[in-house]
Symmetry: C4
């Protein structure tokens, strides 16, 4: 099944909001929430996508002609390429009733493991969501990263006990989720966490802990101070706060500040293997991709995921070869024009 065929099938299978556009760039959905859009005037998603496009890569093919290695190891788990499926939730509400969160995570976790990568799973106000995600990760040998929302500490402790039992190779928290319109004034309550609270949560996790939703150098330093092993530079795809800068814009300064001392992941508007290359050239260790995996799963389930992962891998390998990088470690900022 080709990528185009999966996309065409997705168009009939999704709810009224996502149009499964040829390029998933936020222009059609803008501020459609419920739906895949961004908050406020909807420019957060658009800018995320746009800023990757403004970066150009430096071609140089006077180099050795040898195979390219795209493999990546995160906290002891080696994957075929430095790409993870991002956590997504409230599937029925935003993407249509073909799947609920449990069914989606069940397909996604297994499909990603099968395709050689790993999925982050989302959380929900319904406890069954995280239970299902934990079960899926356990079933797939711990190949997945459960992502807990920033509930009160009591709730987080319960969720941690649940997900640790699945033995994932890392646990994440999307610290910015307090800004989600759908999470405001819910039970259990969610909200910001101080460094001290975050340190307590890291201790509870007993696994490599990733803080998702970092957009400033100050935030990255606080996550490091709290004991996180990694961060995801992310504005939640533009969905938690209107008119943020793009992740591509803030990434370099964050890399300069905490790079080498913790793992730096990034998401937001990354669509192709060349975008992955650019993120790594700016200094990210790996990336997360969200909405496109939804389209793939709605379009063709596990086969959609496999098709997309293969496409990403081919694009990344091609770009690496054309820029003279034979392993991820070879990719440097000097491979971007103007840096």
């Amino acid at each position: 099944m080709t990528y185009q065929e999966v996309m065409e099938q997705a168009r009939g299978a999704m709810g009224p909001y996502c149009k499964a556009c040829p390029v998933c760039n936020g222009l059609a959905c803008r501020n459609t929430v419920p739906g895949p859009g961004a908050k406020g005037i909807g420019t957060g998603f658009i800018r995320n996508y746009q800023k990757w496009q403004e970066l150009c890569v430096n071609m140089d093919t006077i180099c050795e002609n040898k195979p390219v290695d795209t493999s990546f190891t995160l906290f002891g788990r080696t994957v075929d390429l430095p790409v993870f499926a991002a956590p997504v939730g409230a599937m029925t509400l935003h993407y249509g009733d073909k799947y609920n969160d449990l069914a989606y995570n069940d397909i996604l976790v297994a499909a990603c493991a099968e395709a050689g990568i790993a999925a982050f799973t989302g959380d929900g106000t319904d406890p069954a969501v995280m239970e299902g995600a934990a079960a899926a990760i356990a079933k797939n040998g711990g190949c997945g990263v459960p992502t807990v929302k920033p509930w009160n500490l009591e709730t987080i402790r319960q969720k941690m006990d649940l997900v640790k039992a699945a033995d994932p190779f890392a646990i994440a928290m999307d610290i910015d989720a307090a800004g989600l319109p759908f999470l405001k004034n819910m039970t259990p309550p969610a909200g910001s966490k101080t460094v001290e609270e975050l340190r307590e949560i890291v201790a509870m996790a007993e696994k490599s802990f990733i803080v998702k939703g970092i957009m400033t150098v100050a935030g990255a330093k606080k996550a490091l101070e709290a004991g996180a092993k990694g961060i995801v530079v992310s504005n939640h795809g533009g969905r938690v706060l209107d008119q943020c800068p793009s992740t591509a814009e803030v990434l370099p300064a964050i890399v300069d500040a905490v790079g080498g001392r913790m793992t730096i992941l990034v998401d937001g508007g990354i669509r192709t293997g060349i975008d992955v290359f650019k993120a790594l050239a700016l200094g990210a260790d790996a990336v997360l991709i969200g909405r496109p995996f939804v389209t793939m799963v709605y379009g063709a389930g596990a086969e959609g995921v496999k098709t997309y992962v293969e496409k990403l891998k081919a694009e990344l390998a091609d770009t690496m070869a054309m820029c003279g990088a034979h392993s991820l470690a070879d990719i440097s900022r000097s491979m971007l024009y103007g840096f």
Copy 2:
């Protein structure tokens, strides 16, 4: 009543010029005068709106989770959020015959006081306009800022006597009004004022005096020299001079020059609570919003005003929480990307 419902009602209730657009950005009305448009080629209004949009906010949710306080005190009067309704005049001419200036001010002053903010009122060649405004402010316990046009000193003295009797917490003058097409060659005459004349006017006012229509550092310093307690960085929504810079562009230098020594307000293209946040982050103490309040009053009277104020407050509070600011004093330039 939701904001969308007020907007829909406004569409049927306004005159032929204002379209009550989903986003009030000057693109539809451009240089429509009479109407809500700007002078000349009409880019003044558009640029005002646009430049706020180009600013991005820095999200950082690793912080204490506690309630946000949006309250603001201006010259002893505390309001719920740092937003004032701007003075607008010639309502029938520009916005349709549902209201004349008297009826509009009467609703606006009371509705703003009720909603927890305060309104600036406009002036007109017809003396009844200011008389009505003064009466409305008196009725609402001085919760309003009468804004006198830069007439000749004799006329100003008469207006001052009238408005002081209403005991407002401040009095303003839109010093740039001489550029209004509708005020040219009128009786009484209006025009520029020297620092000396302005000092005399400040003395007449016997209240905290605000000079509205400052667009340069030199102008801000002259207002300070004349004894004004505050300024409004404003180009009159683009209506008094074509092809001014936007207020967002000139604000930072003015803050750097006179900030701390006088209160700095700003208007022009501010539409949402996130725009308010950006203005405060650049150094303004508070903002004025004009055209949207017209739409709200034409759409649903006092209820429209209430709906819009609640929307602004929720957006401002949400942005503050997501950027780690718990009071207006916490908002700083470092919360804007690139500053």
Copy 3:
């Protein structure tokens, strides 16, 4: 007769190329030659217009309220405002058969003199064009600037004898005319001139001599060296060379290099009194305006010219008053935002 009425009449009176657009900005005609368009891909005209729009003026009305004086003196001749009608030729070919060059110049020279300004007149391969222009200028008391094309020296000498007899207050040469598609390989031949040749031409003129078509500091210095009393910073409205910078872009450096030592005029995309203000703020002494005068003459003859000159004067005076300039000498670069 209003400006809008003249424009509407012009729409029916012009040939197939010029559309008498509401804003004369080169977007509709682009590279239409014959017609009012520019050479090559047609961006020269568009960029000329656009770059004036990107400049913003600094409003400051805290100043004395006194009348504004827009009068300007060029080589002893005082005009009501610092605006001249630019030389235009081949009227029938480019703008339609309502006028030929003789008829057009005849109306334009008299109408400009009557309206308080002065016209530059164009030249043609047909000797009758310059004869007619000289006659029109003589009839109007020397109120006009005949503009000779850069023919061979022999032809220029003949033209000079002709135009000096009309006793104009200045004589000009559009040194860039060699690039006109319609002048290539014509008889008499036209082309570039060295400083030495230009000095000889200046001597022939025996009047204040203006070199039109300067786009570089080097060119301005050569004109000065050759004895010219003035230059017109001009790219011939984009018609002689494709993809020049705009005149607004190159003007400041030329002013810095030769300002004070010779008169600096500028044309290209200037349409309103606020554009005139910007040109003067950048350091020009006065401006030329071309295409709009054609539209005015085709629309309503002398009355069109009068209407447009009044419009320009009102706009210029309004902008001066709103920026605190009471005479042309008061206008400075600090009245532009960012300068």
Copy 4:
């Protein structure tokens, strides 16, 4: 036959992908491959074109009026203007079945020689393509540059023997061709070359050797180190790697690094004589033009080529005259605005 007439004929004569657009700028074909489009999202071609347009030329006609000489000598071969037809291959696939590679090269090589320039010829997996190209070049007195793909060394040696027999004045290799979708996993294999391998290839060639596909200073230095006599700054028209910078952007730094020590050619989005002027002003010695020659040949065969070469020459000569350059050596970076 006029240029417009050739274009109109081309529209009926080409395959389904190329639209023979009035301006060949990549906007209509974008990422159409097969077809004339670029790789990935298709911005490589568009950016190539766009960046030349952003450069402006400095007009200065105060100079001697004498004829302009556009002639250029490359490795002992003098041509009428500094323009070469670029190598293009797989004609039937991309441009329609009016021609295959052999027929196209046969027409192109002869037509270019006849029109006073010279053509580079493309290579293919079918050995007959290079045999035909070599024959065409031999027939035209060595007036052509055979361009060998970066096959394995054994294959390259065979091709070299073949093309040297045609006695061309230079031999080229498009080192970036490994990125062509149509060349991946083909027999013989193609791919990157180290400096050492390239040095071996240069030795085999026994002719002035040109490395095509250089986009970085590092790459240019490696080509120099390998013994190349020239490079073509090129991203293969955007067809081998997505989201490269444009060639106009990278050219100046490459000129600064290796200029004077090797010949520097450039291609990508060059369409008119004024683009050629800009490339030379940035420091290139000459340019290659690709897609437009295809359109000319499909439209009118050799006559199309002649028409286009004459158009380019007239535009280049006109621009040179208007900027005061009388020979290619006179063209300097100071003739571009802002440099």
